[in-house]
């Protein structure tokens, strides 16, 4: 009898795990503000400040009609560090958003190469990842720590 109950529990747990996709890959909600704050915590060269969605849109050339929610923190112009997280309305836009983040990093690398070359190394290590409908970009002084934070958040 005990064995049967244990088996039932195990089966129920397995089903629950499958239904919730055992993590966030299936689109579990992510606390974007907290994730942004955690990622900003890995940046030591100057502080970032959260920017409006208009600034975010014109910085990354995102189609905001296809964005459900967003948060971005940019810097004073002193460094290349930044954090941007978007939640796409539709998973079809995820790849495009990722590509726009890659373009941003490429452009910044080209611009900083002449102006402030040490920042290019940070851009080389830029983290761009997606999970479900979320896409994140993080240019930081400590990519290892940022990577751990992203992993913990389900990326």
């Amino acid at each position: 009898m005990k064995k049967r109950i244990s088996t039932c529990f195990a089966a129920a747990a397995a089903i629950a795990c499958v239904l919730t996709a055992c993590g966030s890959k299936g689109g579990a909600d992510i606390d974007m503000k907290k994730l942004s704050a955690d990622l900003q915590g890995t940046i030591t060269s100057g502080s970032l400040a959260e920017v409006s969605s208009d600034i975010l849109a014109s910085t990354y050339f995102l189609d905001m009609e296809k964005i459900d929610d967003s948060v971005a923190a940019l810097n004073s112009g002193a460094s290349a560090c930044e954090v941007a997280i978007v939640k796409c309305k539709d998973s079809d836009y995820v790849k495009e958003a990722e590509q726009l983040f890659h373009t941003r990093v490429d452009n910044q690398s080209a611009l900083f190469a002449d102006y402030n070359a040490p920042e290019v190394a940070k851009l080389d290590d830029a983290l761009i990842a997606s999970s479900g409908d979320y896409v994140v970009l993080c240019v930081t002084d400590d990519p290892d720590s940022a990577q751990s934070i992203l992993k913990e958040a389900g990326f």
Binding site: N75, S76, A78, L111, N116
Partner: protein, 316 residues
């Protein structure tokens, strides 16, 4: 029978003495340090109190205080001069607040300096404005909270590479500044260059390059006579600067003087941001920047407030 009054014990006398002594100390503190206690519980912070007391002392001694040279306190409000303040002085000429942070030798070019207006504009004023500039202007875009206007900014933008380098990121890729401007409708131009020119050997050539750049930008405007605002180069905090010895405030003053000359000659409007960012000694106010050059968010917000109040009213 009346109960005999009990004589206090030695321990009770000592306790009473202690209570009396403590009461006396409290009274002395209240009487002599009342002002301090009041300020402790008031909203005024200690810096403000020190400033006020400094002013009181200076006023009594009839000595101009450091604050007559600077309004660089973070809580500066950009109030327009009142009638009393603008009255001609009876004795010595007084420095107007908008003259703070101007370079030495700029007396002949004061006409181009934008004076504060009584009413600030809201961001709709910037609807038809383009802001062009280097990484400092990019920081302003990112952190000031401005909600209207087009921005054409790039880290490392300078007069020397203005035409030659593709440096503006657009949805179509990186393009030169002039190409980026072709897609924008603007009748007001806000320009900030000069920080990356601080190492120039010939400041006259900086002035001439700036003149040419602005002249070309005007031709792309949707107005035949666009309003041209030129921001001063903001002071730096030299102790924090790591990008080169030439990034210093003597050079900032030198380039600003050339910019003022150009503005005066061309009828452009010079926005003297150093009125709020000078520490009173021709240097960036401490705490405004983590690298000595780029302004932190509260200062970018001050920059926006200043811009909202310093404009040329449109003719009725």
């Amino acid at each position: 029978m009346e109960q005999k009054k009990k004589r206090p014990t030695r321990q009770e006398r000592r306790r009473a003495f202690l209570i009396n002594a403590l009461t006396l100390i409290v009274l002395v503190l209240v009487v002599f340090e009342g002002k301090s206690l009041i300020s402790l519980f008031s909203r005024q912070n200690i810096h403000e109190r020190i400033r006020m007391e400094e002013e009181e002392v200076f006023a009594q001694a009839n000595i101009p205080s450091r604050e007559t040279e600077t309004t660089a306190e973070r809580d500066t409000t950009f109030s327009a001069p009142t009638e009393a303040e603008t009255d001609p002085p009876e004795t010595e000429p007084q420095t107007e607040s908008w003259e703070i942070g101007l370079p030495e030798g700029s007396e002949d070019y004061l006409d181009c300096v934008v004076k504060p207006q009584e009413t600030s504009v809201d961001d709709s004023y910037f609807q038809d404005a383009v802001f062009i500039g280097d990484s400092r202007m990019e920081g302003f875009r990112n952190l000031s909270g401005i909600t209207k206007g087009s921005f054409v900014t790039a880290v490392g933008m300078e007069l020397e590479n203005f035409y030659s380098e593709a440096q503006i990121a657009t949805a179509q890729g990186i393009v030169p500044v002039m190409d980026a401007l072709k897609n924008i409708n603007y009748t007001k131009i806000y320009m900030m260059l000069g920080t990356n020119e601080l190492g120039a050997y010939d400041m006259n050539s900086v002035r001439e390059s700036y003149r040419k750049v602005l002249s070309d930008i005007k031709t792309l405007s949707s107005s035949a006579e666009p309003t041209v605002y030129v921001y001063s180069v903001i002071y730096v905090e030299e102790a924090l600067v790591t990008t080169g010895y030439y990034v210093n405030n003597a050079n900032v003053d030198a380039v600003n003087l050339e910019i003022m000359k150009m503005c005066q000659e061309e009828g452009y409007h010079y926005i003297n941001l150093n009125e709020v960012f000078s520490d009173g000694y021709h240097s960036l106010v401490s705490g405004a920047s983590s690298d000595g050059v780029h302004l932190e968010q509260p200062y970018c917000q001050d920059w926006l407030d200043y811009t909202r109040q310093h404009y040329i009213p449109e003719a009725a």
